[in-house]
């Protein structure tokens, strides 16, 4: 065979720099420990620690066990619901009805308790109500195939409406004092609420489920590509169904906590909590498009918001500032990485340009 012509524009320097198809001087993708220490989750944890330190130094009385108690009691509902919500968002769905489910649960246990049922039975029925509500979402989303954002806007209204139907304009407050006292009790002198033990169990359950089980391995795959997930045998519909049952059940837990902590069962309990939960989850590094996210990051995100909230309140900074800070933090948490990426890209381009010979100085008018 004949070669009509042959050119080689590659000069020796270029060849040297990019010998094995890989830039020698370029930092490789992070692996192993650096990946963990510099990852998104780690940054959230550093931010949390920084916020704690700053608050402890600048706000008198912040550094005390009392803070731990009040702060944790405040964030528990968000922390609880954020766990299954993380999994749901990782599969690319969303559940806006969580606060309404908590409200419905609260209403149901209020009415049943007033009707004279045994408190244990009442709480179990409350949980079942949450699970059933979640199953309704799950059925519509996973089985019928409706978009979750739309469905749960509907059930947000529906479940809150049902709460009103159940309890109307009444409020039930006379829960057993031992029980309500238990929900605000602390673990010895640590200031940590006793119920945190249960919450920690819930967190551990979802962390293991997401990060160390076959089921959890499938979730990011579903979030990135439902179709490809199906081709490796993941039952997408079933996984989603159970996740919504999960958010329903945990929302019911949050509803129970809410009712007993404030010893007040009302139809409007926990209203508006859905956006707070989602904000915390997104701040914790979960991608709203699905696929990416982790439980440690989300826990750090929830606590960060909690610390800032409580710190500012203790410092008597106005609520107005607080919501501006929360909003800005949320924006910053997603904008910062993309700014970081842009800087990285720019530095990479500059390095490459320095290393690769620019063939003609004049010939490349940048339009």
């Amino acid at each position: 065979m004949s070669e009509t012509a042959r050119t080689s524009t590659a000069d020796p320097t270029t060849t040297a720099v990019i010998a094995a198809g890989v830039l020698e001087t370029e930092p490789r993708g992070r692996t192993g420990w650096t990946r963990i220490l510099l990852g998104r989750d780690a940054v959230m944890i550093y931010a949390l620690i920084a916020a704690l330190v700053i608050a402890a130094i600048s706000i008198p009385r912040f550094a005390s066990p009392v803070t731990a108690g009040f702060l944790l009691l405040d964030v528990i509902p968000i922390l609880l619901i954020a766990m299954p919500m993380t999994l749901v968002i990782i599969t690319g769905e969303i559940d806006l009805s969580v606060a309404s489910i908590a409200g419905l649960t609260s209403a149901v246990i209020g009415v049943l308790w007033q009707a004279g049922l045994d408190i244990g039975l009442v709480l179990v029925i409350g949980l079942v109500v949450g699970a059933v509500a979640g199953a309704v979402n799950g059925f519509l989303i996973a089985v019928v195939g409706l978009p979750s954002l739309a469905v749960t806007i509907g059930t947000l209204a529906l479940f809150r409406g049902l709460a009103l139907v159940v309890i109307g304009d009444n409020a039930v407050a006379n829960f057993p004092p031992e029980l309500t006292a238990f929900f605000t009790s602390k673990l010895g002198a640590t200031g940590i609420p006793t119920v945190m033990i249960g919450v920690a169990l819930v967190i551990a359950f979802f962390a293991i489920l997401l990060h160390f089980t076959p089921f959890g391995r499938g979730l990011p795959a579903i979030g990135f590509s439902k179709e490809a997930a199906r081709f490796v045998g993941i039952d997408v519909a079933r996984a989603k169904f159970w996740l919504f049952v999960g958010t329903g059940s945990v929302s019911a837990l949050a509803g129970i906590f809410w009712t007993l902590r404030y010893s007040s069962a009302r139809s409007d309990n926990a209203s508006g909590l859905e956006l707070a939960v989602i904000a915390a989850v997104l701040l914790g590094g979960v991608s709203i498009f699905g696929g990416r996210g982790s439980i440690p990051g989300v826990v750090a995100g929830v606590l960060l918001i909690g610390v800032i909230n409580y710190g500012l309140r203790l410092g008597r900074v106005s609520e107005v500032i607080l919501i501006i800070v929360t909003g800005s933090l949320l924006i910053a948490s997603v904008v910062a990485p993309s700014v970081g990426q842009a800087i990285g890209r720019w530095r990479h381009d500059r390095r490459v340009r320095r290393e690769l010979p620019q063939a003609t100085a004049s010939g490349r008018p940048r339009a």
Partner: protein
């Protein structure tokens, strides 16, 4: 080898009527008509002159917001900050009338539109320049704008009495039976509708929502179009804010709180696909009318007040279901009559 194995394309066109019936707005519009008729049968006052006027007035602001929101959703984005934008603009309107007595009404409108567009542009910039998901950004600006509104307004509220009568009259006077602000909303639907269906840049919005990556590869100026959608949405939220001030009694720190999900619900009920690419502003507008009418209808039907919200929820879900059934039908038809052996 020949193409003999393939049938010739079917020459008959799908009839205009069946094409019309397949449109996604139809089930919602039908639901709206049924709702109105049933309510009317039970309570003739529902369609009295005042009743009809009230229905239109109730829907007006939601229609304008839903049209803007639909534009953003077409591009596979969402704007949750509209309620906060509306609140800020409404308060601006109140402030202008209070602090600059005698200010011409058109100037107030322009100022409101400008502030709305500015706030929309901030959303758009963050979304397009920083390449971050709109849901997160606008959830953030929802809080920030609301915070600014609170900081600015404090406990101040402006009441109907602080505004010139001609301004309030916009929400009272009618032309051909239509309140003036409702006519404005209809004009918005028509103009935006024509733009989206008939202008190249309008069609681009659907393409972007349909497949953002492909749009980039194809050379559609994605950032510019998405930016446009956000700015227009902000502008319309601004318009809604000014009209809110004309129609309602007071504007203050909390005006427009909690509206965002209702607006998204209206668009979705009207057949706007939440993941972009399909739907129409007419559909979104009908969705808005349906949702605002449900509340009035239930009151007119004397449905127990505690049931009202639950019924609204059921209707939202029913609307999505109906829409879904319709689109599954079309999809099945497409599958059975595959493109090339139509």
């Amino acid at each position: 080898m020949t193409v003999a194995t393939r049938n010739a394309p079917r020459t008959e066109r799908t009839s205009p009527l069946s094409g019309f019936l397949r449109r996604r707005e139809i089930p919602v519009a039908a639901a709206l008509i049924v709702l109105v008729l049933v309510t009317y049968a039970a309570n003739p006052l529902f369609l009295s002159q005042q009743g009809v006027k009230d229905l239109m007035l109730n829907a007006t602001i939601m229609i304008i917001l839903a049209v803007g929101q639909a534009m953003v959703i077409f591009t596979r984005n969402v704007d949750l900050s509209v309620g906060s934008i509306l609140g800020l603009v409404a308060f601006l309107t109140g402030t202008l009338f209070a602090d600059a007595p005698g200010i011409p009404i058109p100037v107030v409108f322009l100022a409101g539109l400008a502030l709305g567009a500015l706030l929309g542009a901030i959303n758009g910039l963050l979304v397009t320049v920083a390449h971050v998901p709109a849901l997160v950004i606008t959830l953030g600006t929802l809080y920030v704008y609301r915070g600014i509104n609170n900081a600015w307004a404090g406990g101040t509220q402006y009441f109907a009495g602080d505004r010139p009568d001609e301004f309030g009259a916009l929400a009272v006077d009618t032309v051909l039976g239509f309140p003036i602000i409702t006519l404005l909303a209809i004009a918005v639907v028509v103009i935006v509708g024509i733009y989206l269906a008939g202008a190249r840049s309008g069609r681009d919005l659907y393409a972007i929502g349909s497949d953002p990556e492909a749009s980039r590869v194809f050379g559609i100026p994605v950032a510019r179009r998405v930016m446009t959608a956000f700015v227009v949405n902000g502008l319309l939220a601004g318009l809604a804010g000014v009209l809110y001030a004309a129609r309602f009694n007071s504007v203050g720190a909390t005006t427009g709180t909690g509206m965002e999900l209702d607006v998204v619900a209206a668009a979705v009920v009207g057949g706007v696909a939440i993941f972009g690419g399909s739907g129409s502003v007419a559909g979104a507008a009908i969705g808005a009318v349906l949702l605002t009418t449900i509340t009035s209808a239930l009151t007119a039907l004397r449905v127990d007040k505690f049931w009202q919200q639950a019924v609204v929820g059921i209707l939202i879900i029913a609307a999505i279901l109906v829409d879904r059934i319709a689109s599954v039908r079309t999809a099945r038809k497409l599958r059975l009559t595959e493109a090339r052996d139509v």
